[in-house]
């Protein structure tokens, strides 16, 4: 593309504006996390960058189980929900992509419906159901709804990947003596592995970032996940706003996401634009 200098400078400006727009809040959070409580509260002479850098906020949040336990919960719940979602979704997606069965359209429709459903409308019923079942404020109480919301995402992404795998490979496996299950495990699943990784990342990101259910279906740090825990941080006295701690915690829970995205950037894009991708 032969761009003129004018066009180029136009694009550069647009890019810079976009980047600033996106990055400034992030940088602000990072900056806040390094300020000591006194500087944060000091009005009138606030600066963007801390005047004196401190790790106090970080050491503070890691010194109590108020944050470390939820962080553990987040990782545990996220991994378990992701694993179960991907396993179930890959089977469902395989069926959707390969088999004709009565109710196939209904299945696809319902899973789409779930993905569209506003979470907030489900919070109250889920709260009551989970209390009735005695799984309120437990890991399982979050894992189940996370799987439910991870599945449609997984089915959609994976069925696109499965469709890319030639039918004949499966026929060949069957003729080679594989049971349908063996054909799936040894031939189809390995070929769909990139799709499964992509799906796993997407589902994990969803679980990791989820806030509404996490805060509604938990009451103590026994099951509260990190994003929800942030909302319950206390200041050092009841008159102090725990801005520094919240910022530090926010940075901590963002880091895995950033690493994930940097590592799996291509895969995530592949998953979001799935169908255009060879499995």
């Amino acid at each position: 593309m032969a761009a003129t200098t004018r066009q180029k400078s136009g694009w550069i400006t647009a890019n810079i504006v976009t980047i600033l727009l996106v990055l400034i809040p992030v940088l602000w959070i990072v900056s806040l996390s390094f300020k000591n409580p006194a500087t944060i509260a000091a009005t009138g002479r606030a600066t963007f960058w801390p005047t004196s850098w401190t790790w106090a906020n970080y050491s503070g949040i890691f010194s109590t189980s108020e944050f470390t336990r939820p962080l553990l919960n987040s990782i545990g719940i996220g991994l378990i929900a992701t694993f179960i979602s991907v396993v179930l979704a890959s089977m469902a997606a395989y069926a959707v992509a390969r088999l004709n069965f009565p109710g196939k359209r209904a299945l696809i429709g319902i899973s789409l419906l779930i993905a569209m459903f506003p979470l907030i409308s489900l919070v109250t019923p889920l709260f009551n159901i989970e209390r009735g079942l005695g799984i309120f404020n437990t890991w399982i109480g979050l894992i189940i709804p996370y799987i439910a919301f991870g599945l449609p995402l997984g089915i959609y992404t994976l069925s696109a990947f499965f469709r890319e795998i030639p039918w004949e490979l499966e026929k060949a496996a069957k003729v080679d003596g594989a049971t349908p299950f063996q054909a799936f495990i040894r031939v189809i699943a390995p070929l769909a592995a990139p799709g499964m990784v992509t799906t796993a990342i997407l589902v994990f990101l969803f679980c990791w970032n989820e806030f509404l259910l996490a805060i509604s279906l938990t009451s103590t740090i026994a099951a509260r996940t990190a994003p929800a825990a942030l909302a319950f941080f206390n200041g050092s006295s009841q008159f102090t706003v725990p801005t520094g701690s919240i910022s530090a915690a926010a940075v901590v829970i963002t880091i895995p996401i950033i690493i994930f995205v940097l590592f799996f950037q291509r895969r995530i894009v592949a998953g979001l634009t799935s169908g255009a991708v060879k499995g």
Partner: protein
């Protein structure tokens, strides 16, 4: 190793289309049999039913004497080579070839031994640790063959295994396949749309059309004694010339002239109940440049004049083309289908009226010349326009092979004009995705 028996096998698809209609075929142990026919004729469906990849709607399939209708592919002890090869992309050549044995829980050292042996046979030893993506088309094809032979199965099933190769490699590989089958002595069912492959490879060839078997016979038998119009037109390249003819006063009147009928042929036609109007089929090689025919041979044929449109000299032979008003032969469904298959339908009416003659390369006939040609009347084929049946065959019973190969039940060879499958248009007729996608150039290397 085993024999395969298809006993009145039919396949009806869920949408009601009939893929295979009452096919019976007995394949002997160690026999190399070809299923050939145009796209949508049910040959791949038949193969998939033998493999167990498609359910059989009705009929009985026996492999080695055991009914296998409801057995899963893995319990049938068959190996299959697919058109796309279907190599597992995530496995090395070695693992691809050993996959079946691994599933069968064969000891590792036995797998290695068998894979190495197969690789030696197929010249694949240097590539054993490569992935299929890093192999050429020919090498991939050999891996697919290797995957089949390491298993030492009861039968090989081949679904157009050569159609993804370029023309030159296809001819080479064809010979390889033939040699391999002879050496292993394993029953082989081979599906192709290419009549050249069918002619060169098989012990016996089953010609299929609209889900039914038209004729089962040795390649030479099919060529010399086609049971009906379809077989006659499908086998041979360039294909047989067809023209309308009338039987009058012991003569066969055609646009080329009046063929005298020798007594034996006349008797055969009478016994077969030939009607007044017939279709005459003449192979291109029945023609000759009249100048090159020895005088003593001339009475066996008929001389006529024709203005030559095109000549094609191939060194070892010479084809000449001329047009004639050939009569209403194109109303016959079988000829229509043949024309569609060869692409002649699109070429317009003129192409249909073209007669091809294969002459001695010594002929000096040139384009535009009003040449004198001679046609050998001893090798005429006369067909019934209504049923397509070849009336020149003794007794009218088609497909009775002189060879020792087991014959199909006589009924299977008979043309079935009223078959319900005739309603199935080729584009409706269920074919596998691969069959639909296969290249149209069937006999590119055959001339």
């Amino acid at each position: 190793m085993a024999e395969i028996n298809l006993d009145h096998i039919s396949k009806r698809f869920p949408d009601g289309a009939i893929g295979v209609d009452d096919v019976s075929l007995d394949i002997a142990d160690g026999e190399f049999i070809i299923l050939v026919g145009p796209s949508g004729c049910g040959k791949s469906t038949t193969l998939n039913m033998i493999a167990g990849l498609e359910d059989i709607t009705s009929g009985e399939l026996r492999i080695g004497g055991t009914v296998v209708n409801n057995k899963a592919p893995k319990d049938r002890d068959i190996a299959m080579v697919f058109q796309s090869y279907a190599l597992y992309p995530h496995m090395s050549v070695r693992d691809n070839m050993g996959f079946a044995l691994k599933l069968a829980k064969t000891p590792k050292n036995v797998i290695d031994e068998k894979v190495n042996e197969a690789a030696r046979t197929l010249d694949l030893t240097p590539f054993l640790d490569r992935r299929p993506a890093n192999l050429s088309g020919g090498q991939r094809q050999r891996v697919a063959m290797g995957r089949a032979i390491v298993r030492d199965p009861a039968a090989f099933l081949m679904d157009e295994p050569l159609s993804n190769l370029d023309a030159k490699l296809r001819v080479q590989t064809r010979t390889e396949v033939s040699r391999l089958q002879k050496r292993l002595g394993t029953t082989m069912v081979y599906v192709t749309h290419d009549q050249t492959e069918a002619m060169t490879l098989g012990d016996r060839v089953a010609v299929m059309r609209l889900g039914t078997i038209q004729q089962v016979a040795s390649p030479q038998e099919l060529y010399d004694r086609p049971a009906n119009l379809f077989v006659a037109g499908f086998m041979g390249s360039p294909s047989m010339n067809f023209m309308a003819g009338t039987l009058e006063e012991g003569k066969l009147r055609t646009v080329l002239g009046d063929f005298p009928l020798h007594s034996q042929l006349r008797q055969t036609l009478e016994r077969a109940g030939a009607a007044h109007d017939v279709i005459v089929g003449i192979r291109p090689e029945s023609f000759e440049d009249a100048e090159l025919v020895p005088a003593e041979a001339k009475p066996n044929g008929l001389e006529f004049n024709a203005t030559i449109d095109v000549t094609e000299s191939l060194g070892s032979e010479k084809f000449v083309y001329f047009t004639r008003e050939l009569g209403q032969t194109h109303n016959v469904a079988e000829l229509e289908e043949l024309a569609r298959d060869s692409g002649r339908a699109e070429a317009g009416g003129a192409a249909r009226e073209t007669v091809v003659a294969r002459l001695d390369p010594a002929s000096r006939i040139t384009e535009g010349q009003d040449a004198r040609l001679w046609v050998d009347t001893r090798h005429l084929h006369v067909f019934d326009p209504a049923s397509g049946r070849n009336l020149t065959l003794e007794g009218g019973a088609p497909g009775a092979p002189a060879s020792s190969a087991p014959a199909a039940p006589a009924g299977t060879g008979a043309p079935r004009q009223e078959s319900p499958a005739a309603d199935v248009r080729p584009d409706q007729a269920p074919t596998t995705a691969t069959e639909a996608a296969r290249p149209a150039s069937g006999d590119g290397e055959s001339q």
